[in-house]
């Protein structure tokens, strides 16, 4: 009768499969942040002169502010559902490393909300005047940046888990911490557009993503446990 206990890898796989299955059943939810990103980047040319040479100058800013705000919006999808129906509690009580499970959840969240941004960013960039040669650099920068933003945002979402309210506290917590990603991401994008080597800011973005991946699990587990009390 005693079935063997799952390893952490098996448990994480089950969790990832569950989250993906849920996302598939509620397909609209994951696409909303993407839609928001596209709307925001469209606003910039509308607010300015649709002159491509001018747009090219602000393209890095528009892309990254859009990405930042979109990832902020997407954070609602991370813990709200599970927090409300008691599933998060069951995760905390299943005997597997909680930090690891939360990291798995954040990874799926990035796959569903960050990765679409990565794929769409080159399109948005070219609509803002970026040359085709800039695309690989922009892809790399947005990839690393969204990973870091997802992790930082997840910590904020964990801290505000049980709070009602309109999400402006979450924004106040997450946006200042996201500033370094914004700075280096926009810089990398600008260099890509100008056709110059962008290894330096990319390495820094990668370092930030790695630092976030190292620190976030601890902070996430601590924050969510506090929120579950």
């Amino acid at each position: 009768m005693m079935a063997p206990r799952s390893t952490f890898a098996a448990a994480a796989a089950v969790l990832v499969a569950r989250d993906l299955r849920l996302a598939q059943r509620r397909a609209g939810d994951s696409l909303l942040p993407l839609g928001f990103f596209l709307v925001v980047t469209t606003l910039f040319p509308l607010a300015l002169d649709p002159e491509l040479s001018l747009l090219r100058d602000i393209a890095p800013a528009a892309l990254w502010v859009g990405a930042l705000l979109s990832s902020l919006l997407a954070l609602d999808l991370l813990f709200r559902d599970d927090g409300q129906d008691g599933a998060l509690e069951q995760l905390a009580l299943c005997g597997q490393p909680f930090a690891g499970l939360l990291l798995a959840k954040t990874t799926v969240h990035w796959l569903l909300t960050g990765l679409p941004l990565v794929l769409v960013a080159p399109l948005a960039a070219s609509a803002l005047g970026a040359p085709y040669g800039a695309m690989p650099g922009i892809l790399a920068a947005v990839l690393l940046g969204t990973v870091a933003l997802s992790l930082i945002g997840a910590v904020g979402a964990g801290l505000t888990l049980s709070l009602r309210g309109n999400g402006s506290l979450l924004a106040l917590l997450v946006l200042p911490l996201s500033v370094p990603v914004l700075i280096f991401g926009a810089r990398a994008t600008a260099l890509a557009i100008q056709g110059e080597p962008l290894a330096a800011p990319l390495y820094l973005l990668a370092a930030m993503a790695v630092l976030a991946a190292t620190l976030a699990p601890w902070a996430l587990a601590a924050a969510v446990r506090i929120g579950l009390e």
Binding site: L159, L177, P180, A223, E229
Partner: protein, 246 residues
């Protein structure tokens, strides 16, 4: 042996009495040092060869900026102590630090802007250090906002402790990112002044102000933390005894 001291310090009645006794030892020297710093710095220090008299605001701006950072570190450290050793007094200290740190940050920003006006012509120039101070202010506001939003005090303590620890790791990253960001545009940082090294008449008042501000912070922290401890333990018996002694 140090552990005994550590845990006694963490006991609320003990902390309350100790803080009361220590406060004047920090308060009076702070007052004297700041008086000296203000008078010597604003009145008697020689004018900077480049900036004339305008540089004098540094006697308030630099200590305020330095304190704004130091207070965040103290806040994060005591929050971490409270989280790890589950010490209520440490959480009370962290909670008391936040408004003080935010005020120093606001003061640094205000004096920085006042300094910028004669130097740059505008009140705000996205100078890296001022921008960094602005972001630090947001971090303080976020901390206080989170504390405020969580109703249960124990949960608010621990959640904001996690935030403070995450924040303190980010503060150097944010600071250097902003400096790097600004360096791209080769805007001269006017906050430096007067090469070569400062003469003693300029430096001494500055150091006095720095030390004075720091001592003032400790005195203010002890006072606020006492009030915070009192508020948290209001139903405890030791309070009526302690108040009877005052």
């Amino acid at each position: 042996m140090a552990w005994v001291w550590f845990h006694r310090f963490g006991s609320p009645p003990h902390f309350y009495r100790l803080a009361r006794r220590l406060t004047p030892w920090f308060g009076w020297p702070a007052l004297i040092l700041c008086l000296y710093g203000v008078i010597a710095g604003l009145g008697f220090a020689p004018p900077d060869y480049q900036q004339g008299d305008g540089f004098r605001i540094i006697y308030i701006h630099a200590p305020a900026a330095w304190l704004s950072l130091m207070v965040y570190v103290v806040m994060a450290t005591s929050a971490a102590v409270g989280l790890i050793w589950r010490m209520n007094v440490a959480h009370a200290v962290a909670a008391s630090c936040a408004p003080i740190g935010a005020s120093f940050t606001a003061l640094a920003l205000a004096t920085g802007m006042l300094w910028g006006r004669p130097m740059w012509g505008t009140y705000w120039e996205w100078d890296p250090r001022l921008t960094s101070e602005l972001l630090l202010l947001f971090l303080y506001l976020g901390y206080m906002g989170l504390r405020n939003a969580i109703e249960d005090l124990s949960r608010a303590d621990r959640a904001s402790a996690v935030l403070a620890i995450v924040g303190v790791v980010n503060v150097p990253i944010i600071h250097y990112s902003v400096i790097w960001w600004n360096s791209l545009h080769q805007a001269p940082t006017v906050m430096k002044f007067g090469r070569p090294s400062m003469p003693a008449a300029m430096l001494l008042p500055l150091l006095a102000m720095l030390l004075g501000f720091s001592l003032y912070f400790v005195a203010l922290l002890l006072t606020r933390a006492r009030g915070e401890v009192l508020r948290r333990e209001r139903s405890a018996r030791w309070i009526s005894e302690a108040l009877a002694q005052e």
